[in-house]
């Protein structure tokens, strides 16, 4: 059985961030806490496990290279920094059409979205696949994708996303709301398109 690394540790103390600039043990402790979070963020967004592993690895190689220049003092600042790098890496990966195609092909294998879960979003218990959701995400702007990803794949709060994307918290709330509306509309259109095809 494949062993797993779950993140059930207590959040590290702020002073670990300062130590991690010069001390490999402290860096390792930060890694142990944040790697599962970043991996989860990547795999939710990129679906393909091997790709998520590559991207998450690259995130931490960058962190390792740059941590000496990181000026943050707290775990919260470190979290934002790591998720900013992660978001940039994910977006860079998805800039390639081959990567997007790979993602959608993998999403097809995820099957159907539970009708009861999707119903409050699209208006009725429609038949939609997870690939529809990822396909719909693709139609949003990179910034909209980033906001939704950080909120729902990274489980971050509005103020955290605001700092990561260098925007005001209010602007994030508005942008998230609009992005989700757009996503919902795209999904609804997809569902309608599917229904039309079904009854033709």
């Amino acid at each position: 059985m494949n062993q797993r690394f779950t993140n059930e540790q207590i959040e590290p103390r702020d002073d670990l961030v300062k130590s991690a600039r010069t001390d490999r043990e402290a860096f390792g402790a930060l890694f142990d806490y944040f790697y599962p979070l970043v991996f989860a963020y990547c795999v939710r967004r990129l679906v393909v496990r091997a790709v998520a592993e590559d991207v998450a690895s690259e995130v931490f190689f960058k962190v390792a290279r740059e941590i000496r220049n990181f000026r943050g003092q707290s775990i919260e600042e470190f979290r934002r920094w790591v998720f900013r790098i992660s978001t940039n890496e994910i977006n860079a990966h998805l800039r390639h059409s081959k990567s997007r195609r790979e993602l959608l092909e993998a999403a097809v294998l995820m099957g159907r979205i539970n009708a009861e879960i999707i119903a409050p979003i699209t208006g009725n218990a429609s038949m939609l696949d997870w690939s529809d959701l990822y396909g719909a995400l693709e139609q949003l702007s990179v910034r909209e994708q980033s906001i939704i990803s950080l909120r729902f794949f990274g489980n971050l709060q509005h103020h955290q996303i605001a700092t990561i994307l260098n925007l005001k918290e209010g602007a994030i709330r508005v942008a998230l709301c609009r992005s989700l509306d757009r996503l919902r509309q795209i999904l609804k259109d997809r569902r309608d398109g599917l229904n039309e095809n079904l009854y033709q």
């Binding site: 797993r4 690394f5 860096f27 592993e53 190689f61 962190v63 390792a64 208006g123 959701l133």
Partner: protein, 418 residues
């Protein structure tokens, strides 16, 4: 239609059928590699003042060899005519050079890698027969008595004096290019002989030029790992400036100037006494030729410090930075070593890898330990063909060694460049 709420979206995304937990193997693998990157970035920049002092102290041992080699090459060049062919018997030159009893010079060394990358070290040097060498700058003094096998390095800033004793009993000439010798002049002569036999040495005449208002004859020689440019005074037939670039132990440039031959030197400058008010640290070092056994020990030391992993790369810069980290941990007392013990550890750690890098190209040196773990049986991590042997010596991840008729076939093996 009513607007969807965060809760609805949360409910949707919570249902994502993906496994979000990384495997332990993957987690540990990335952790290890990320930490390697961390070490790679930070060691060179973060070394404590203590480490600088250590690095500079240890580096002194390179200085006499470098000077020796340079001067030997100078004489090879000096005998060459404009076409680069020897015009005078080398044997005669060796004899003439042996007339040098004392020497004073200045040197500037720039190191690209090593413990303190980019470091520029300016030193004054003094040599006296039969094997005394002193190098110094405002902060550091290093005195080596190659006959007695003793050395003293003094740091005026920290007021620490390192006193070494070393044995030269096991010196061997099996491996070309190994320049350590108990006698500075003798080592020059040996190097000269070695260069004489080296048909691959490239000699280029730079003609007659003016340098510091003096006529000089310039030559450039490319040897296996070193290129040296010499500016010789045709009247004295001795060098007035030597420029050396090389790649061992890291990429470096050395410029030697202001040579004064057979000058009177006060013997007191070679005294190995520790000045009053300085803290003494004693250690013994082994400057005999490193062996395969040393390499195995170095690999073991690396793996012990790195959770059973072997080096990801077998490159001098990488291993030196690892060495810096290794030293840092030791200095901080992470393993409880005493002052002298850590120095021994560092030197032992360095020796083994030096063995690998001193093997000639013909030895077909290969490394395949990047993904191996200490203790794995039947997993080759390093192999080479000893000089004159048809069989390969293969070191496995459990650090056992066997002879094989064929080189192991490992897909991710890399050829070690020396």
């Amino acid at each position: 239609m009513k607007e969807t709420s965060d809760r609805d979206w949360n409910a949707l995304f919570d249902q994502l059928p993906v496994d979000v937990i990384p495997s332990i193997d993957h987690h540990l693998d990335v952790r290890y590699r990320a930490t390697e990157v961390f070490d790679d970035q930070s060691n060179s920049l973060q070394l404590t003042q203590t480490l600088k002092q250590i690095g500079q102290t240890l580096m002194k041992y390179k200085v006499p060899h470098g000077v020796a080699a340079s001067l030997c090459i100078a004489f090879i060049l000096w005998i060459g005519d404009s076409s680069g062919k020897p015009a005078v018997a080398i044997e005669a030159l060796i004899e003439k050079f042996a007339e040098v009893k004392t020497l004073r010079y200045e040197s500037t060394t720039k190191m690209e890698g090593g413990l303190v990358p980019g470091m520029v070290l300016k030193m004054k040097g003094f040599y006296s027969e039969p094997g005394l060498l002193r190098t110094e700058n405002d902060r550091l003094v290093s005195i080596v008595d190659f006959v007695e096998g003793k050395s003293l390095s003094i740091d005026h800033q920290t007021k620490i004096a390192f006193r070494f004793s070393f044995s030269t009993d096991n010196l061997s000439q099996d491996i070309p290019g190994y320049e350590i010798n108990e006698n500075w002049i003798k080592s020059m002569q040996q190097f000269l002989k070695q260069a004489q036999d080296d048909k691959s040495a490239k000699v280029e005449s730079l003609g007659l030029k003016q340098l510091d208002n003096r006529d000089v004859i310039g030559f450039r020689v490319g040897m296996e790992h070193r290129t040296a440019t010499f500016w010789i005074d045709p009247k004295t037939q001795l060098p007035i400036r030597i420029e050396v670039t090389g790649i061992r132990p890291t990429r470096y440039e050395m410029v030697y100037t202001n040579f004064e031959f057979n000058v009177e030197l006060d013997n007191s400058i070679f005294q190995l006494d520790i000045p009053d008010g300085y803290t003494a640290s004693d250690a013994s070092i082994d400057i005999s030729l490193p062996t395969e056994k040393d390499l195995i020990r170095s690999l073991e030391m690396f793996a012990e410090k790195r959770e059973g992993r072997f080096p990801l790369k077998f490159e001098q810069g990488y291993l030196q930075r690892s060495e810096g980290h290794f030293q840092l941990r030791v200095v901080e007392g992470a393993n409880g070593d005493s002052n002298n013990d850590w120095l021994k550890s560092v030197l032992a750690y360095r020796r083994g890898f030096e063995f690998a890098f001193r093997l000639p190209d013909a030895s077909e040196v290969h490394y395949a330990g990047a993904n191996a773990r200490l203790g794995e049986r039947d997993r080759p991590i390093f192999w080479y063909k000893p000089i004159g042997s048809e069989a390969y010596r293969v070191i496995y991840a459990d650090l056992s060694v066997r002879d094989t008729n064929e080189a192991p076939k490992i897909p991710d093996a890399i050829r070690v460049a020396n």
